[in-house]
Amino acid sequence: MSEVREICRYVRSKNAGPFWITIDLYFHDREGFDRYANAPQLRPAAIGALYGVDPAMVKHFPLPDLLILKISYPRLRPQGGAMERDMHGGQQYIRLLDVELEANPEGVTP
């Protein structure tokens, strides 16, 4: 199995200002990071589809020194309006945990 919950030792999400959510994926080790940080399921197209946002706005930052992948995307609506369900975005990473990752054959492109 290669679900995010197994590949990563820790995943968190948080608001980054009222208009953005940012997710940090902490990988267990170098091998996992190199195989999966650039997996298609973690690239902007897939993240855009998962969260219902424009893929062109999704940011994807592999941080090899820290073995962390940072993903940021704009909220569908600004934080705190009438339909808000997660004020601080702290639970938004949950739906990523079940996502099955395919190793990127090219590894992490610089």
Partner: protein, 463 residues
């Protein structure tokens, strides 16, 4: 290990937010270690738009006063400046006045007579609309336009200050500077910049320490000391149990930041792409290689205003039959309630919305649950009515009440009663607020949109 930095400016950052709590011991440790100033912030947009839209602070008066008392006594004892940014959560004028009154009360009760500067950065909607018309306002992603009407929809608008108004107030003789909305980093970078520290080092130190102990191994254990030099800075926890490691310090750049390398500030961009993080000892980290790239001076705008009112109801459901088909149940409940309001209230209800959120099932995400998932053991079904006034939202809730309470899963089953925890069942939540602005305004001078006032203690007006 690299050698220690020379000729540093040392800033005691006692907490990530005034009102979270701090100890006199940690503050004393920082003073004994040679702090040149004490600085922290007291606000953020983090907890949503209500604080800016209403001007009311997030933390209790007692919690803020307890922290401020420790800091004002330390300021008086050490005779070093105390800087607090984003006072009263939003940093709006009302929130800053709230903080000023607490400071004056502390001064009076403790016989302290500091010279206090107040930096106001709330902005007038008409002035900003005029600046927008003059092409001096730009949207920030994900916003793409500058709609001048947005300014008028805000109840309060603040512009985020940089370090310059703090430096000007200190140069004018302030002992304590209480600021309206300020970037978290600027309030910590101000004294290092004033004393000639390197800009990259000062801004990166400010970003590192903005959440107090969050850049250490013990996030909730007090604050940190930053020592800022020409080409780098060092960061060390105040608490004896906490440690800073290259990892805890470098990963803090990720926190609540959509870009891990770049941070946009009023007069430029902090770029930490080439930053190096090295341990000095087992609890102190030295950071070098951060750059600050100057840009035309802009101030970020935050604005929030009201949009509708909400009334809530909550029922607990343990009925296994209902829970086995919870999606169908919630779907038909929503249809029944909407129809009930349309039939009973008609046009009088105005534009309204009813949102049903089954906590214990999928209320947090609002997305469909895997059909193979087992049913929940119990669910708290939250009813949220949104309407143009509080009275209408409450009338909608009251109109729905019997159906929300008694609706069966299937028409032929005997009438159930779900578990209301409250009487009356409805809870008036108040107004809904929204963030309306995500823009920057260009200014010719950093202090152009800032109003500075001094409070001279000991004069008759305050005795």
């Amino acid at each position: 290990m690299p050698p220690r930095l020379a000729s540093t400016t040392n800033i005691l950052v006692p907490t990530g937010a005034l009102g979270l709590g701090m100890t006199e011991q940690d503050v004393a440790t920082g003073l004994a270690a040679g702090a040149h100033a004490i600085a922290c912030d007291a606000g953020s947009t983090d907890s949503g738009p209500a604080y800016l839209a209403t001007g009311r602070p997030k933390y209790s008066r007692a919690a803020v006063k307890a922290d401020l008392l420790i800091l004002m006594k330390a300021q008086a004892r050490a005779k070093i400046p105390l800087l607090i940014g984003s006072c009263g959560t939003s940093g709006g004028d009302m929130a800053l006045d709230w903080m000023r009154d607490i400071a004056l009360e502390i001064a009076r009760e403790n016989g302290l007579k500091p010279r206090i500067a107040l930096l106001y950065s709330e902005q007038d909607a008409a002035l900003l609309a005029a600046r927008a018309a003059a092409g001096r306002i730009e949207p920030l992603a994900p916003m793409r336009t500058v709609d001048a009407a947005l300014f008028g929809e805000c109840d309060h608008i603040v512009a985020l200050m940089g370090p310059e108004p703090y430096i000007a107030a200190l140069e004018a003789g302030a002992d304590i500077v209480l600021g309206g909305r300020t970037t978290d980093t600027a309030v910590l970078a101000a004294v290092p910049l004033m004393r000639g520290a390197g800009a990259g080092a000062a801004w990166h130190a400010g970003k590192t320490a903005e959440c107090g102990g969050l850049c250490t191994t013990h996030a909730r254990e007090g604050g940190v000391m930053i020592r800022v030099g020409k080409d780098g800075f060092e960061v060390e926890p105040l608490s004896a149990v906490a440690r800073c490691t290259p990892r805890t310090v470098s990963s803090h750049m990720l926190y609540e930041n959509s870009d891990p390398f770049l941070l946009h500030e009023p007069g430029g961009v902090l770029d930490v792409t080439a930053a190096r993080y090295e341990p000095i000892d087992d609890r102190t980290v030295q950071v070098t290689g951060s750059r600050f790239v100057p840009k035309p001076y802009t101030m970020k705008l935050e604005g929030a205003g009201g949009s509708g009112w909400q009334t809530l109801m909550l029922v607990g459901i343990q009925d296994p039959g209902v829970l086995a088909e919870i999606d169908r149940f919630v779907g038909q409940m929503h249809e029944v309630l909407m129809e009930r309001v349309r039939n009973s209230m008609g046009a009088e209800a105005g534009v309204f919305d009813i949102s049903l959120r089954p906590y214990g099932w999928n209320a947090v995400s609002g997305t469909p649950v895997d059909p193979a998932a087992p049913p929940p053991r119990e669910v708290g079904l939250l009813f949220v009515a949104t309407a143009a006034t509080q009275e209408l939202a409450t009338q909608i809730a009251k109109t729905c009440n019997p159906w929300f309470f008694h609706l069966p899963l299937n028409p032929q089953t005997p009438m159930p009663s779900y578990a209301f925890p409250f009487s009356p069942a409805e809870v008036e939540r108040g107004q809904v607020f929204e963030f309306k602005l995500n823009h920057v305004v260009h200014v010719d001078h950093p202090n152009e949109l800032v109003r500075t006032e001094f409070v001279e203690l000991g004069e008759p007006a305050y005795v």
